[in-house]
C-alpha cells in the first residue's frame, strides 16, 4: 500500500514543481524577454491558462479513447463554419463561434455516418473530413481575404491562433462555458470512464455508449471552438491531447491524470499566450505547441515507471542486483 501513497505524493510534488516553474516564468519573461504584464497581457494570459485547463481535461478522454485524431478533425472542420458565419454575420465573435461549432458538429456527424454505413475505418473517415472541411475552409477564407471588405483581417487568426485578440469578454465566456463543461465531466465521470474503457459493456448495462459518446463529443466541440482563437485550427489538437499524453506518463489513475493534464494545459496555454505576445503577430498556436511538446518530451523521458530514462536505470539496477544475488546464491524467487 505504501507504494501507492508514494506515487500519490509524487503527483503533488510534480504539481508544485509546475506551479514553481510558472512563478519563475513571470520574472523571467519580464526581464529576459521584456514582457510587460499590463491589463491586456493579464487578460491574454488568463485566457490561455483557462483554455489550457479546459482542453487538458477534455483531451484526456480523447487520448484514452484512442481518438486523438478526432480533436484534429473537429478543429479543422470548424474552419469553413468560421468563413460562412463571417459572410453571413460579419465580425461578430459570437456568430463566428457558433459557425465554428456547427461546422465541427456536422464534421463529427459525417464521420459517424461514414463509419456506420461504409467499410471506411474511423481514422480514415476523420482524415477525409479533416481534409475536405479544412480545404473548404481555406478556400472560403481566401475568397473573403480577396474581397474588398476591409474588416476581414481578423480571420487568419483562426488558422494559427492569435492570443492577443483575446479580450475581457472572451475570458468571461471561456470561464463560464468552461465551468459548465467541467461540471458535466464531474457529473458524468463514471459514465465517461466506462465508455472510454469498455463501451460495449456500458451498452450492455444500459448506460448508452452512443449517448454518452455524443455528450463527450459535444463538450469536445465546445472546447475546440473556444480554443480556436488561441491555438488555431491547425494546432488545436496539440492543446487538446498533449497535456493528456504527458500526464498519462506520470500516473496510473484517471483522476490524477485529469488533474495533471489540467496543470500541464494551464502551463502550456498560459506560457504560450505570453510568449506570443512578446512580438506583434507572433502566432500563439506554435508557441503553445513548443511548450507542450517539451512537457511531453520531458514526461516521456523522466516519468517514473514509464519514462525511458527510468526504464533504463531500472533495467541496469536489476541487472546488477540479480547478478550479485546469483553470485552469492541468494534465492529471491517467490
Amino acid at each position: 500500500m505504501s507504494r501507492f501513497k508514494a506515487a500519490d505524493r509524487r503527483i503533488w510534488l510534480l504539481i508544485a514543481v509546475m506551479a514553481l516553474l510558472a512563478l519563475l516564468f513571470v520574472p523571467f519573461s519580464q526581464h529576459a524577454l521584456g514582457v510587460e504584464y499590463d491589463y491586456t497581457l493579464q487578460t491574454v494570459a488568463l485566457g490561455g491558462v483557462l483554455l489550457g485547463i479546459l482542453s487538458g481535461v477534455v483531451g484526456c478522454f480523447a487520448v484514452l479513447r484512442q481518438q486523438s485524431l478526432i480533436g484534429d478533425a473537429l478543429s479543422h472542420a470548424a474552419l469553413p463554419g468560421v468563413g460562412v458565419a463571417f459572410l453571413l454575420a460579419g465580425r461578430d465573435a459570437g456568430a463566428l463561434l457558433i459557425g465554428a461549432g456547427v461546422a465541427a458538429w456536422l464534421g463529427v456527424a459525417f464521420i459517424n455516418a461514414l463509419t456506420a454505413t461504409t467499410r471506411i475505418k474511423s481514422d480514415s473517415a476523420m482524415g477525409i473530413v479533416l481534409a475536405a472541411w479544412f480545404g473548404a475552409g481555406i478556400a472560403l477564407l481566401t475568397f473573403i481575404q480577396s474581397s474588398p471588405d476591409a474588416s476581414q483581417a481578423g480571420l487568419s487568426r483562426f488558422i494559427f491562433g492569435q492570443a492577443a485578440a483575446i479580450v475581457r469578454a472572451d475570458v468571461v465566456l471561456i470561464a463560464q462555458v468552461g465551468a459548465v463543461v467541467l461540471g458535466v465531466i464531474a457529473l458524468f465521470w463514471k459514465e465517461f470512464k466506462l465508455i472510454a474503457f469498455d463501451a460495449p459493456f456500458a451498452d450492455a448495462l444500459g448506460l448508452r455508449a452512443n449517448l454518452v459518446g455524443a455528450l463527450l463529443a459535444t463538450i469536445t466541440v465546445v472546447t475546440v471552438v473556444l480554443g480556436l482563437q488561441l491555438a488555431g485550427v491547425v494546432l488545436m489538437v496539440g492543446l487538446l491531447v498533449a497535456p493528456g499524453i504527458a500526464a498519462r506518463q506520470w500516473t496510473h489513475k484517471l483522476n490524477q491524470m485529469v488533474i495533471l493534464a489540467a496543470v500541464f494545459g494551464a502551463f502550456g496555454g498560459g506560457v504560450g499566450a505570453v510568449l506570443s505576445a512578446v512580438q506583434a503577430n507572433l502566432p500563439t498556436g506554435p508557441m503553445i505547441i513548443v511548450v507542450l511538446s517539451l512537457l511531453v518530451f520531458i514526461s516521456m523521458s523522466l516519468a517514473p515507471g514509464r519514462g525511458l530514462i527510468w526504464a533504463y536505470l531500472r533495467r541496469r539496477r536489476d541487472h546488477q542486483r540479480f547478478a550479485y544475488m546469483r553470485e552469492h546464491d541468494i534465492d529471491v524467487r517467490p
Binding site: 463514471k190 459514465e191 474503457f197 456500458a202 448495462l205 496510473h252
Partner: protein, 266 residues
C-alpha cells in the same frame, strides 16, 4: 437453492429465427436455440463462426437483421439486470489508467444507474467478487500490470458482481494456465449449482465433455444444440468445422475421457 426434482425446468434463454449480418454478409443465419435454466453450456465453432456475434446480438450490442431473443420470456431491455457479461479479453485496452477494484465495480454501474457514484457498498461487493476469483491482493493493482490470466479473472469478477441469473462469457479460458482454468471452471460450476445459467464460448474441444453439460455447435448456421452426450459427436463436429477436424471417440467403456483424441489438420 436446489430445485425440487418435480419442478419442470424453466427455459432461461430463447433465440428464435435470429439472423445477424455485417454489411450484408450474414454472420449468423436463422438460429433457433432454447437453453434451460441451471446449465453450463459451451458454444463452439471455428474462428468467425459467429460465436461472439451470438452473444452481442443477444445483448443488443449489434443489430439483429431478423429474429427475437428472450431471457425468461423478456427482451434484453426488460431483463438487463438478469444478464451478466464477460467480453473477449482483447476487446479493451488494458493500459487504461485504472485499478482492478475499479474495473470490478463497473459491473455495478448498471444497477447504480445514471450519475450515481459507487460507494462503500459497491466496494464491499467488488471485494467479495475478487475473493471468489482469488484476486483480493491485486485489488489496488493497476490493470496494466496484470498477467493475461489475472485480466481474465478481473473480467470474471466484474461479471460476478453483476449478480445475474444468466451469464454470457466470451472465451474466459483464453490464455489462462491450467490452474487458473480449473479455478474458473469451479466458479462456473458453483454458479450452476446456485441455479444460474452460464453460456461460455469455448475453443478447446478436449475439455468440452468435462466442463459442459450442454453444448451448441455453430458455424454461421446452428449445427446442433443439446446435451453434451448426444450433441458433441464426430458428425456434428465435422459439420461445424468442415473437414479440418476429425474426432475419434474413445471406443472403450469406463469413462476414461482422457483417451478421447482430437486430431486437427487439413
Amino acid at each position: 437453492m436446489s430445485r425440487p426434482e418435480d419442478t419442470p425446468t424453466r427455459i432461461a434463454f430463447t433465440v428464435e429465427d435470429l439472423t445477424v449480418a455485417y454489411q450484408g454478409k450474414p454472420a449468423l443465419w436463422d438460429i433457433d436455440l432454447r437453453v434451460p435454466e441451471g446449465v453450463l453450456m459451451g458454444v463452439i465453432g471455428p474462428n468467425g463462426a459467429g460465436k461472439s456475434t451470438l452473444i452481442k446480438a443477444a445483448l443488443d450490442l449489434v443489430p439483429r437483421a431478423a429474429g427475437t431473443v428472450r431471457f425468461y420470456g423478456q427482451t434484453y431491455r426488460q431483463a438487463r439486470r438478469l444478464v451478466g457479461y464477460v467480453p473477449q479479453r482483447g476487446s479493451v485496452d488494458w493500459d487504461f489508467p485504472t485499478s482492478v477494484i475499479d474495473v470490478v465495480m463497473m459491473g455495478l454501474y448498471g444497477r447504480l444507474g445514471w450519475l450515481r457514484r459507487p460507494g462503500r457498498a459497491e466496494r464491499d461487493a467488488a471485494f467479495a467478487a475478487l475473493e471468489q476469483v482469488d484476486l483480493v491482493k491485486f485489488a489496488d493493482r493497476q490493470i496494466s500490470q496484470l498477467s493475461g490470466g489475472q485480466q481474465q479473472r478481473t473480467f470474471l469478477a466484474r461479471a460476478l458482481v453483476q449478480d445475474a441469473e444468466i451469464y454470457f462469457m466470451d472465451e474466459p479460458f483464453a490464455a489462462v494456465d491450467a490452474v487458473t482454468e480449473r479455478a474458473i471452471v469451479e466458479i462456473l460450476r458453483e454458479l450452476r449449482g446456485r441455479g444460474k445459467t452460464v453460456i461460455v464460448v469455448h475453443h478447446d474441444l478436449q475439455t468440452v465433455k468435462d466442463y459442459f453439460d450442454r453444448v451448441t455447435l455453430l458455424n454461421v448456421a446452428l449445427i446442433a444444440s443439446g446435451e453434451t452426450g448426444q450433441t458433441f459427436t464426430a458428425q456434428n463436429l465435422k459439420a461445424a468445422y468442415g473437414g479440418r477436424v476429425s474426432y475419434m471417440a474413445d471406443s472403450e467403456q469406463g469413462g476414461d475421457d482422457d483417451n478421447d483424441v482430437m486430431l486437427v489438420g487439413d
